[in-house]
């Protein structure tokens, strides 16, 4: 059996473990979740250390002494592990937030504020443009303004709400399809011809194990509501 097929079978087994949580919390699902977080934690640890080693430690070794500051700031972040030293972590956090916010704001003005407003300036010659202009203005007003809802503003507010509801409804429909695609993506690998019998066997074993656990009271049975 080659490593690719073995990988698919292993993946199928652990997926069944993860899906078993749908019946209710059980030892297999908890084992799978902890296995997942453990391996992922180790992976994140190793790859981020590799990044720091390649792009900071190596730079220092090559004579770019300024990166000592970056290393020091990174170590100061670890001070969060000890409550008395938490004050040290404020410096790298302050720098990160300042740079991040500055980078986001400087282009938000153009990309998301002015560009979107410019795109809304449309000739009111057809129903689509009318919908776009009215929808944008009323939805923005609904979002931002806190004026009392009286008189004409009440209609602005209600219209904005309709457009936002339409947006959320469309997003919900798209989200439902997206969630199905996630399951299909997993099932496609689990139900491949070369893997399906291993999947079926694992399902039978898990079902038998869980049934035994529920009958003997070793695993708590959750009601379906």
């Amino acid at each position: 059996m080659d490593s690719f097929l073995f990988g698919l079978i292993a993946g199928s087994f652990v997926s069944i473990g993860a899906y078993s949580v749908l019946i209710g919390d059980n030892p297999l699902s908890k084992f799978t979740e902890h296995l997942y977080t453990g391996i992922l934690g180790g992976y994140i640890f190793a790859t981020n250390w590799d990044y720091i080693r390649s792009n900071c430690v190596n730079n220092i070794a090559q004579g770019q002494i300024i990166y000592v500051v970056a290393l020091a700031l990174s170590l100061m972040l670890l001070s969060r592990l000890k409550p008395e030293w938490v004050w040290m972590s404020r410096y790298p956090v302050a720098l990160t937030v300042g740079v991040g916010l500055g980078l986001a704001i400087r282009t938000t003005v153009m990309a998301e504020f002015l560009s979107q407003i410019t795109a809304t300036v449309l000739p009111l010659t057809n129903i689509n443009n009318l919908v776009m202009v009215i929808g944008t203005v009323t939805a923005t007003a609904y979002f931002i303004f806190r004026t009392e809802m009286k008189g004409a503003y009440e209609y602005v507010h209600k219209t904005g709400r309709v457009f936002l509801l339409a947006a959320f409804g469309v997003t919900y429909g798209q989200t439902v399809s997206f969630r199905f695609e996630l399951v299909i993506g997993r099932l496609v690998d689990m139900l491949r011809p070369e893997v399906i019998w291993y999947t079926a066997l694992m399902l039978v074993l898990v079902a038998a194990g869980l049934a035994y656990g529920y009958r003997t009271g070793k695993i708590k049975w959750y009601s379906g509501r």
């Binding site: 908890k30 902890h34 296995l35 990044y51 916010l101 798209q174 399809s177 997993r186």
Partner: protein, 210 residues
Amino acid sequence: MQIPIIITSVAGILMILEYFFPMPDAVTGFNVTLRSFVAIISAAALILGTVVLSIFHVRKVGERKSEWMYSIVYVVSFVATALLGLGSVRNEIFLWIYSNMTSPIGAALYSLTAFYITSAAYRVFRARNWSAGVLLVCSFIVLLMLIPIGAILLPPVVPIGSWLRNYPSGAGFRGMIIGTSLGVMGLGVRVFAGRQKEHLGIREEKVGEQ
């Protein structure tokens, strides 16, 4: 306390000024260095996250808290994976474990929401009033538009759904984008002015307080 606030403000303002005005090379070079530092600090923050989680699980095992046996699974898998990766992130076993154990579990866990969303839709998604009705009708039309059989069973859903997505929904999201961009700009002004310090773990000052 003042120094971190000053660091935030100076770093942020330098980033903004560099974008809108010609700056001397020394300032541009300094900004490049700052951005490079932030990438390194971000990597360190992720390492910190994994360390904090590991300490939690080690303590759970040590103190024999409820379900401590599962924490052993965490610790063993974390240590094994980290050691393999620290050797080389291109190690074949390291990548195999990641691709064939973590990835499928992650995909399966993420996909659980499909079941919850369907169950919730059956129990809760009701056209109780006109607002819920708008939500229900729009989501219905768009979902039928997306599945190929929807276009065959009800051909009008395709042009209607496409129009809904482009125009009313597009207008709604545009309003949200404009609103949130104003919010981001307002937040930036508050943070750079030192009026908002939550990122440093300090609660916002009330008016009248020192």
